[in-house]
């Protein structure tokens, strides 16, 4: 068969339910038929451009899906870039896409102008530029790379993760049922376009026939307001977003009666936060989705039923599953590997390895990192007896103290259970005696305080003494990236500047 192309997702939607609103307000938004025409116009414009890559430096806008699908029609990789990067880092990334065509948010145009081989077009100018084109409805023969996403590596320059049409198309077909959304469903999207969840949201919603409503960028008040006004039925958030949304719901009394389904992922969700959300929104189905950029989004899910069973259970082992990411999806193979690459004994910690057609594990200029199809996620984790996966954090974040490996997440969960503690992050810092020592950065609830000694006693009461933080520092906030990733490197260098 011909290679897959993600444009098929949209042509099927236009064929099956072309009159449905795909994007924007329910009454006046863009239909799937219109979105296909628009994408065809973008595709024709791009196909004629002197560019190998199509770059987006922008917040969310209703243009995003047509740009993604238009690039697929033009046979050019779509490269959404983090517009929040500092100027020099943003320019270095855009330089690497040359020769390229960049669509930029009007205020970002100046930041990426004047790079050799790079043409910059303000987003506002796109409708005028595509107005005179003839919609191209068959893909041009070109690159089989659908999307390139620059990942924030722990060291050095960011790497560009390669997602081929095959990866994304197989992900959608194996996780979403065509036209499975009811006509009134609406997904509120607030994750940025340069995040894998922002790309996957467009593809999943289109295949399911679910209207997309965009927030330019996340803000808890705006999110709650839009969810209420648009009667949003679905949304995906990262853990820090959910914490802030809950604060707004409590303050305003809004309970979002139309909301049916809230999925979360992109970082460790504190068990207290999700338990609180389940109480506050009993009418909502919660799903925890675990995935990586390199796996085309979700590879494991904790389903709504899993949430309900765990939250209602008196059995600690079942209740603990609220802190898991559920079980691998059927199209994914997964195991926990030891340092030798062989499966560890059941229940033991190791590195999460995955395999499946949606798994890319490939970087531009580096090539595939897969061995026999297996991708090493660099995430530490373990599986319980029922196959539930617990993600313990990045392998690089595992603390090795006196030869003993420990995951920050385990200690953080205990710290967070202290009534005065709002947030906690645990890192390893250099230590002459133990190799690494455990340090914690803690944020207290407003008006609360607690001493280092009290927290040390608190941890000692539930974990082995080797897991007690030697040092606890108190701050007003923890450093997060805008997609909710805890910036452990920053914490480490702040606590121990020589690290």
């Amino acid at each position: 068969m011909d290679s897959a192309n993600i444009i098929t997702i949209l042509t099927m939607a236009a064929q099956g339910f072309g009159d449905r609103v795909a994007l924007g307000p329910a009454g006046s938004g863009t239909t799937y038929a219109d979105l296909l025409t628009l994408s065809g116009q973008v595709g024709d414009w791009l196909a004629g451009a002197d560019a190998d890559q199509f770059v987006l430096v922008d917040v969310n806008s209703d243009l995003m899906p047509a740009l993604l699908f238009g690039a697929a029609l033009a046979g050019k990789p779509f490269v959404p870039v983090n517009y929040r990067l500092a100027d020099d880092r943003l320019r270095r990334i855009v330089e690497r896409t040359s020769p390229s065509l960049v669509v930029a948010e009007p205020s970002a145009v100046k930041r990426v102008e004047g790079i050799a081989g790079v043409t910059v077009v303000p987003r506002d100018a796109v409708p005028g530029l595509i107005a005179q084109t003839t919609p191209r409805l068959e893909p041009v023969e070109g690159s089989d790379i659908a999307v390139l996403l620059f990942t924030s590596g722990t060291t050095g320059e960011p790497k560009a993760a390669v997602l081929r049409h095959d990866n994304l198309f197989s992900y959608i077909v194996s996780t979403v049922d065509f036209l499975s959304a009811d006509a009134d469903e609406c997904a509120l999207i607030s994750v940025p376009p340069y995040h894998i969840a922002g790309v996957a949201a467009v593809l999943s919603s289109t295949f399911a026939g679910r209207r997309i409503y965009y927030l330019e960028q996340f803000n808890a008040e705006e999110w709650v307001k839009a969810a209420a006004e648009q009667s949003a039925t679905h949304a995906m958030v990262v853990p820090t977003m959910l914490g802030r949304i809950i604060e707004v719901l409590e303050r305003t009394g809004e309970r979002l009666p139309a909301l049916r389904h809230l999925s979360y992922g992109g970082g460790h969700m504190p068990t207290a936060t999700i338990a609180h959300a389940l109480e506050l929104l009993p009418h909502v189905d919660f799903t925890n989705a675990y995935g990586l950029t390199e796996t085309s989004s979700t590879i494991a899910v904790l389903t709504p039923d899993d949430h309900r069973v765990a939250n209602a259970s008196a059995d600690p082992a079942v209740r603990m599953r609220l802190g898991s990411v559920g079980r691998p999806i059927p199209s994914i193979e997964l195991f926990i590997a030891g340092p030798d690459g062989k499966p560890v004994a059941q229940g033991e910690s190791g590195e999460i390895w995955v395999r499946g057609t949606q798994v890319s594990g490939e970087y531009l200029g580096v090539g595939s990192t897969l061995k026999d199809g297996w991708f090493r996620t660099r995430d530490a984790g373990r599986l319980d007896a029922d196959g539930y996966l617990y993600v313990e954090g990045r392998l690089d974040d595992v603390i090795v103290r006196g030869g003993e490996n420990m995951s920050p997440g385990e200690i953080e969960d205990v710290l967070r259970q202290h009534p005065a503690v709002r947030e906690a992050a645990v890192v390893g810092i250099p230590d002459s005696e133990w190799g690494e020592a455990i340090a914690a950065m803690v944020v207290c609830h407003e008006g609360e305080s607690v001493s280092q000694e009290t927290l040390q006693k608190w941890v000692r009461a539930s974990l082995r003494s080797s897991r007690v933080p030697e040092l606890v520092v108190f701050r007003d906030a923890l450093p997060y990236s805008e997609t909710g990733k805890l910036l452990r490197r920053e914490i480490r260098s702040e606590i121990s500047p020589s690290a």
Binding site: M12, H234, S263, V301
Partner: protein, 46 residues
């Protein structure tokens, strides 16, 4: 009749086909008609 968006599988080799354009007729693999697959029951995660 092939139904748009429906997935079909081969009972012999396990290959899966997705109907991208509705039409009459049926899809064959390993010299037999492929059978429609049940809808998946995965919750929305994006």
């Amino acid at each position: 009749m092939m139904q748009l968006g429906k997935r079909y599988t081969c009972a012999s080799c396990g290959s899966v086909a997705l109907c991208c354009t509705a039409g009459s007729g049926e899809v064959h693999c390993c010299e037999q008609a492929m059978v429609p697959m049940e809808a998946k029951s995965l919750p929305s995660s994006d």
